[in-house]
Amino acid sequence: MLEKLEEEVIEEVLKAYPAKAAKKRSKHLGVDSPEKIKGACDSVKSNKQSVPGVMSQRGCAYAGSKGVVWGPVKDMIHISHGPIGCGQYSRGGRRNYYKGVTGIDSFVSMNFSSDFTEKDIVFGGDKKLKTLLREVDELFPLNNGITIQSECPIGLIGDDIQAVAKAYKKESSKPAIAVSCEGFRGVSQSLGHHLANDTFRDEIMDDVSARAGFEPTPYDVTIMGDYNIGGDAWSTRLLLEEIGLRVVSQWTGDASYKEMAIAPKSKLNLLHCYRSMNYLARHMEQEFGIPWMEYNFFGPTKTTQSLRKIAEFFGEEIQAKAEEVIAKYTKMTDEVIAKYKPKLEGKKVMLYIGGLRPRHVIGAYEDLGMEIIGTGYEFGHGDDYKRTKEDLKRATLIYDDANEYELEQFVKKLRPDLVAAGVKEKYVFQKMGLPFRQMHSWDYSGPYHGYDAFAIFARDMDLAINSPVWSHTKAPWEKNQELGA
């Protein structure tokens, strides 16, 4: 029944497009279920050019590099190099928490821009960039390095920012790293993640001096692909420390340059957002022989499974501690589930997010008895969809690079009880009277990683679904109307 509806709505949506676009989009949509062989998770096309002229929810390579991966590194100054807009739009929206004195030794929530004028476009911006780097160092002497994040025009006007960075690095003896992450490169923010990873590889991995004097232990780990949104990496870190590990490096939420440079000394790389940091994990495996492991800290079931997997790597002593930690927290999360599950059981959810979340959060919803009936990635690749299959429990609509029109139609047809996606979609669905949670920024809540965070997650889902505000939509004098009719 559900599957039939899902198949139907894909047909309906495709009818709205001109033929060429319909053909393209048809390859990105599908249905999958645990029983299906070669379902949508195996067959959907992904990481392809978006159809022009629609409201795509995707960002660009600059967003992936500056906004997602580099931006949270707190003691470096990230220059939005080019015109004024990109840096302004990406300022302060992602909630990458950090501790530090902003403007003095930490800079995450600020916006540094080279504010290009027409002159810079015509004559090139390299000279301006050189001056700018000096000005940064003079006014912010405690910065631990500078990155230059290219906006669209840079790659089009023939500037050589790599050379400027190299020269400046020599002059200042601090890291100066240029990322050619112009927004037109690639098809989404995904390429920006990759480009940022490449600069980590080229610039940080080799910086032996930054890790000089580091004393290793057998229990050193690095957290990778956690951007500390609402404090996610902190609630992750605590659990790892409690089971007896030492987190020597966080990438990149609340990260500092030096701790990043320590990473090649860790014993295991723990990878949360596979999409945005698998490149570097693979590199460190090849180059330094450091194994990496994906884990999932959304919801107690997945958190427990992940902790056991991580502990197993380190042997009996850590395993014993992990079991203690699991027991301690499970008591609490059981209480959380007892409190909220009765209010949430059977509720249907549709997800549309980036990176790892379209699959990783499924378990957390299921811990609360909720069901996922649709999920998709803004900028996933084939390996993301393949990994998603394991998390499906029923017929699920799969949509890659869905645009606003499609999402609206899917929701109208499948009528979930909750939509969990981004801010651009939020008010569309709330206007239809549907509970909605932003799943990029945690809707100004969080953290959502780990056991303590699950309590917040459960509370948030309850408040979204069971708020009285949704019952006021219809005026008492209006007749019963169907959703979206």
Binding site: A16, Y17, P18, A21, S50, P52, G53, V54, M55, S56, G59, C60, A61, D75, P83, I84, G85, C86, Y89, G93, G103, I104, S109, M110, N111, D115, T117, E118, E135, L139, P141, N144, P153, L156, G183, F184, G186, V187, W234, L238, E242, V247, Q250, K258, E259, K328, M332, E404, E408, V423, K424, Y427, F429, K431, M432, G446, Y451, A455, I456, G484
Partner: protein, 515 residues
Amino acid sequence: MQVVENIVDGQKLFLQKEYQDSFEKKKEFESSYNSVNPQKVKEITEWTKTWDYREKNFKREALTVNPAKTCQPLGAIMAALGFEKTMPYVHGSHGCVSYFRTYFTRHFKEPTPCVSDSMSESAAVFGGLSNMKDGLRNCNALYKPKMIAVSTTCMAEVIGDDLNAFVSGAKESAEGELDDVLIPYAHTPSFVGSHITGYDNMMKAILEQNNPTRSEKVEDAERINVIPGFEPYLGSLKEIKEINALFSDKIVMIGDHEEQWNTGAGEYQLYSGGTPLEILKTAINASNTISLQKYSTVQTAKLIKNKWKQGYTTCNPIGLNGTDAYVMKLSELTGKEVPNELTIQRGQLVDAMQDSYPYIHGKKFALFGDPDFLLGLVSFIIEMGGIPAHIVCHNAPKKGWEADMKEVVAKSSWSEECQIWANKDLWHLRSLLFTEPVDFLIGNVYGKELYRDTGIPLIRIGFPIFDRHHLHRYSISGYKGALNLLTWITNAVLDKLDEETKETAKTDFFFDSVR
């Protein structure tokens, strides 16, 4: 650990001992170069508050820190959304468009429709014509607009795409699908001007390309067009329309985005409100056009004055004097007496100003924002007896603005204490606030960090405001709008007074119940 009876947010969770201990442990791995050395951090913190730092800071030539402006296409989108069933279409990268939509949506807490044609590397090499051809058709098929308003991102501008040729090319190859939709276009290069420039360029394009030439103009002597400009206060649009209606129903707003960002619960409407296209297409026939933001309509003004040969004036109905001037202008142009209703509203505003003035008189304010917004707000502060000590306009236009502002400031009896800072950013302002402090700061959400660093309370008036709800629903224009301004400012002064006097047995003798 969480306790199920009292689940706490991150705010309190991270204050728990186990997390605090974990933060301590993390520090061990963090330090490098000079940072995280508490002594050094303190030293530099203090240094940034000095005149020495200020001088270095003001010598910056290349670096912008914490800007108070943004790029052209954002303004173009607002202009486009002021018209009936119009889809803003941005020719260029889709990353920018995600940013534009997010930015507006965070401010208004409303959806913001806008498409892009997702240009990428191949378009960088071959140009974006094929994106435009497919994009316009897809947009038209999915969103069924009556008008598609095309603007550009940096990328399209740098590679030099010819919009005129592209739009007509796309129309020709669309097998008739685009015949019934209007497609005005404007170049909106982000490396020129700011978001208000984009508003201007798009407004001009929409007007010019949807109106006949002057030879076909049929003048309607009674008709007056009013262009609001880049106006983030939806309540202002509403109030201006109310004032207009009190004079004549032939005063029409051109570019009315009020309803687009203010639809009710119940169903999602992609388009809402906007200036009807019939009104747009006859804009040339008006006898006069009034722009409410001189500096958001510089190019538009040229079209109206020079090509359309209409009467053209600018007004700035923020504060008492500005509203008076607007009302008198309408009276002059319509030949009607000022309606009694407005005289009553004015009286009520002045009465309220006379109630509250002691709290604003002689207080120092620092203000930042868009050029026209500042002209209005500074005027109002002066009307109340306040001192606009620092006026920071990051996107100050090269021509005219400073002179206009000087004229406004000259009306203050403290005019020598008022400093006008054109093209300075908020890191400059930080130095100003430390070296020459004020009592209150007025500006958008980006003033928040200045409040944290300096302790000077921020009164949120401007755009964008992401961290307070519903302010954009109010008016800051007209007499009622001025009353809102007065309320926010006065009560901020009183809140501060309470804050400063609340300590038991120490300062609370002044913690009065009546103010």
